[in-house]
Symmetry: C2
Subunit: 211 residues, 2 copies
């Protein structure tokens, strides 16, 4: 054995990433293991460490890829919807769909990373995409209330998007524990509807003359 040279370094990385996705797609509760990933890609454990710094590094790259896809989908959705209000609803739906249709992949995103790797390029890349997603929402909120302070809108966007994320988490967790199930889509719709009502109402109020 040894010395096969079937794949380039980049191809091996791709194989590993695909193997991780295959594992979580086949069982959302599966624990990702260096050995299981290696088996899935047809190599041995050692090879993994030839190409990634460690398991966290691999998972980080998977997350980066997942976030890129999600961001891409969200951009398409943003393009194809009518008006900022509708767009925000569609963006939220897009996120819930990702969480519900690919629970394994979605859970991968909240995998706690070790701080052992310093400020990595890939680490920053993943974080930057998350930032881009926030900005997407921020842009639509700005369209809804063009006169409002941009700092305020940034806060509103973060609050709203974190809230949507929170609903997905709580719903998934109560689903896991076979609890009375509240539909994530319904909860998110309610949240966005109520939040946007409040957002617009506050605007009206601040524009109204002081009584």
């Amino acid at each position: 054995m040894a010395r096969r040279n079937d794949h380039s370094r980049k191809q091996i990385r791709e194989l590993a990433i695909q193997a991780v996705l295959d594992v979580v797609d086949s069982d959302e509760d599966a624990t990702i293991t260096a050995r299981s990933v290696a088996k899935g890609m047809g190599y041995t454990v050692g090879t993994l460490y030839l190409v990634f710094r460690n398991l966290d590094d691999l998972l980080l790259q998977v997350n980066s890829k997942l976030l890129q896809h999600l961001y891409g989908d969200m951009n398409v959705v943003a393009q194809n919807s009518e008006g900022p209000r509708d767009t925000i609803f569609e963006l939220a739906k897009c996120y819930v769909s990702f969480a519900e249709d690919h629970p394994g992949r979605w859970q991968l995103l909240s995998h706690r990373r070790d701080n052992t790797l310093g400020h990595d390029a890939v680490e920053n890349e993943a974080d930057n995409i998350v930032e881009d997603i926030f900005v997407l929402v921020q842009t639509e909120l700005t369209r809804l209330a063009p006169t409002r302070d941009s700092k305020e809108i940034a806060i509103a966007a973060r609050a709203l998007w974190s809230a949507i994320h929170g609903i997905c988490i709580v719903t998934a967790s109560s689903h896991l524990r076979r609890r009375a199930h509240y539909d994530a889509r319904l909860l998110v719709h309610t949240l966005v509807h109520t939040y946007l009502s409040g957002f617009m109402f506050d605007k009206i109020e601040s524009l109204a003359p002081r009584s």
Copy 2:
């Protein structure tokens, strides 16, 4: 060694729970280990399995205790605030304070449990307290809009509380990655303010005559 009989079964359980809390209090990122818990309580690993079914069972009991405390605090807060609107703000602040002042304990709450243990008494206990917390919020929302459908209010309460939780999670995670930090307290305040505005606005609208 062997046969010390220093503590009763119940005392040993208490020692273990305290040991877990000590570990996460001293380092929020510490990994809870059967051996580290055992060392912290002055026993050996085996003893842990004399008193808990496994590590998850121990962590579940810790969570149950933490949730009881949190629920107690929230009840005190609910008693001492003026009016439903103020109460909801105070409840939210109470949760954020827990997450920020005791990050290790708070993170323990989102520890993913194995499904290996069936429908346990303790498991249900923890879930029931979470349910009670939702009800607390639900009660205040009902006071704000007594005429609204109770099912709708239940949904509104879950959406709001999950949203608050989500903000804490996203904030903690970006804090961990040393990202530009948005204050959780500010985000939660914005969320609650905006959400309640929307909640009241929708009520007004639905009460208003159809035009």
